[in-house]
């Protein structure tokens, strides 16, 4: 690489960093400011007041707990059903696999608004409204397809001989999964967990529709802060909290983010 292209490359990356980070700078900056103005903290002074206010509000704290609960449940459920499916697709010629793919993709890209009403009706009958279980379940509609896609490409990178030797040693399918397959594709499990976690965490339409009176997610708790006189600083402090779990997840998978997106026919 020439010096000139190196300098240009570095300049480009700095521009990119500025573009991506600017909104985050704004959020953090407003979160440590008094944006309504109180006697102790006049408008515009820097203060940790907003963060203290979060913990003074039961609704805000419980929304954090609710979100973490359904997202964790969703990731567990998604992995549980996607792992066997990804393995099956990777290793066997399954009749109807093309139809299976079309169904998966179609539901991944179906807008949540389209499904929110019937899911609400169905889940009311099943008593799944206002519970984290309901949201965890419905988020599978877009996470299971993503998980199968990522896991399948990681599993396909494991040689078949690996399964066969385990089976010759007399391992059952479930023991084989736990003792051999999962450790062999650990980075793939990590990447899958990251994307499922993120897509469930950021989703709004289902999470709002399915929580009428109770179990509100963090996204709704923040929306509910808007009113006649909105405390922007508090909103931003809550937004900072809403970013933390995602940042932790990114840190764990930082070396593997760009792996596992091989597309097969």
């Amino acid at each position: 690489m020439t010096t000139r292209s190196r300098v240009l490359g570095a300049f480009g990356l700095i521009l990119l960093a500025a573009f991506i980070l600017l909104p985050f700078v704004q959020v953090v900056q407003l979160s440590v400011q008094s944006t309504l103005g109180t006697p102790e903290a006049p408008l515009g002074t820097y203060t940790m007041m907003n963060y203290r206010n979060i913990f003074a509000s039961d609704a805000l704290v419980s929304s954090l707990v609710n979100s973490v609960t359904y997202v964790t449940l969703n990731v567990a459920l998604t992995l549980l059903v996607a792992l066997p499916a990804a393995y099956g697709i990777s290793r066997y010629h399954i009749p109807g696999r093309r139809l299976f793919f079309i169904t998966l993709l179609a539901f991944r890209v179906t807008p949540p608004v389209v499904l929110s009403l019937p899911v609400f009706i169905l889940f009311s009958k099943l008593n799944l409204i206002n519970t984290p279980v309901g949201i965890a379940l419905v988020h599978c509609v877009f996470n299971v397809p993503i998980a199968i896609w990522i896991l399948e490409s990681f599993i396909s990178a494991v040689p078949r001989e690996y399964d066969e030797s385990a089976k010759l040693d007399g391992y059952s399918t479930s023991r084989f999964f736990i003792k051999f397959l999962i450790p062999a594709i650990a980075p793939g499990i990590g990447v899958t967990m990251f994307f499922c976690f993120v897509f469930s965490w950021v989703e709004v339409v289902f999470a709002r529709t399915l929580t009428v009176t109770d179990g509100k997610p963090i996204t709704m708790a923040i929306s509910n802060l808007f009113g006649f006189q909105t405390d922007v600083g508090l909103v931003m402090a809550m937004t900072v909290f809403s970013l933390l779990p995602g940042l932790v997840m990114i840190y764990f998978v930082r070396h593997h983010i760009a792996r596992g997106f091989v597309v097969r026919g």
Partner: protein, 288 residues
């Protein structure tokens, strides 16, 4: 359990299918059923046949929204794909800069979708926003509330910020699959930078790019939370995209028309996916 996979491999797909049944296929069936009814309450409804469908498909508003959504998808794909591929090409293949850039690109993905318009609105706020203050200082008359062009620009920039990282990450994962020997072969052939891109890098990215294309097209075509948060479809109807119309009917409790609209949208979605799979299968290099 035994060696279940070998005897009945399709059983491995069953748990995933069962979940999709409950959260996808059955709800879709319910919508389909309701789309033929006028719904006062879910208990009191009357059969109207295809009335909602013919009303929707003969309303000019539907086609206007369809065109707007198509225009929006086209616009953001024309920005995000060249930009995302360009970013992917800039990322070094190893080291701290590589990891750092990939982490940077993933950052906007973890922001809850209803926070995104809120954050961008505070960025362009003329009193406190970092961009808004700069715009005010420059004297530019930026007005995202009443100037349709400015609303579109704001949504497009916001969407690019949100999603260009995904395009870049996917492109990069394609590039990372190229072995050094392929580059060496190209260098021996004295291939130009453009030829390397066209004949080595682009084919390696083909699969992931097609997938990114489907995801970006559909997600922008049906954009809801972010676009609604900026200007609720306005000014006038300048940014009322397909999903915003549906959201409006839902909020107005027009469940019959909303159901018919949902089915039409799902049909569009299914057609796009089908076309996408046809295209990707046709150009597929035979496997094994």
């Amino acid at each position: 359990m035994g060696n279940l996979g070998q005897r009945r491999p399709w059983l491995l797909l069953m748990p995933a299918l069962a979940i999709l049944m409950v959260v996808g296929i059955i709800p879709l069936g319910i919508v389909f059923y309701y789309s033929f009814y006028d719904i006062f309450t879910l208990q009191a409804r009357s059969w109207v046949g295809g009335q909602w469908y013919s009303a929707l498909l003969s309303s000019s508003r539907f086609y206007d929204s369809l065109l707007r959504s198509l225009g929006f998808s086209t616009l953001i794909m024309c920005i995000q794909f060249p930009l995302g591929i360009f970013i992917a090409l800039m990322i070094p293949r190893g080291g701290v800069v590589r990891t750092g850039t990939l982490v940077l690109l993933a950052l906007p993905l973890v922001v809850p979708w209803n926070m995104i318009p809120m954050v961008w609105l505070s960025l362009v706020d003329a009193d406190r926003g970092l961009i808004g203050m700069a715009i005010a200082a420059s004297g530019w008359d930026f007005d995202y509330k009443f100037n349709a062009l400015h609303t579109w620009a704001l949504i497009a920039v916001m969407d690019t910020w949100h999603w260009v990282g995904l395009v870049a990450i996917l492109s990069y994962s394609g590039l990372a699959s190229i072995s050094p020997s392929q580059y060496q072969a190209a260098a021996i052939d004295q291939a130009s930078r453009w030829q390397v891109f066209r004949w080595v890098e682009l084919p390696a990215m083909r699969g992931v790019l097609l997938m990114a294309l489907l995801l970006r097209f559909m997600d922008s075509f049906m954009i809801y939370t972010e676009a609604f948060g900026i200007n609720a479809g306005g000014p006038g109807a300048a940014t009322s995209f397909l999903s915003l119309d549906l959201g409006e009917e839902m909020r107005g409790f027009d469940y019959g028309p909303a159901s018919a609209r949902s089915i039409v949208y799902f049909a569009i979605t299914a057609c796009v996916v089908w076309a996408f799979l046809r295209v990707s299968a046709r150009e597929e290099v035979p496997r094994r």
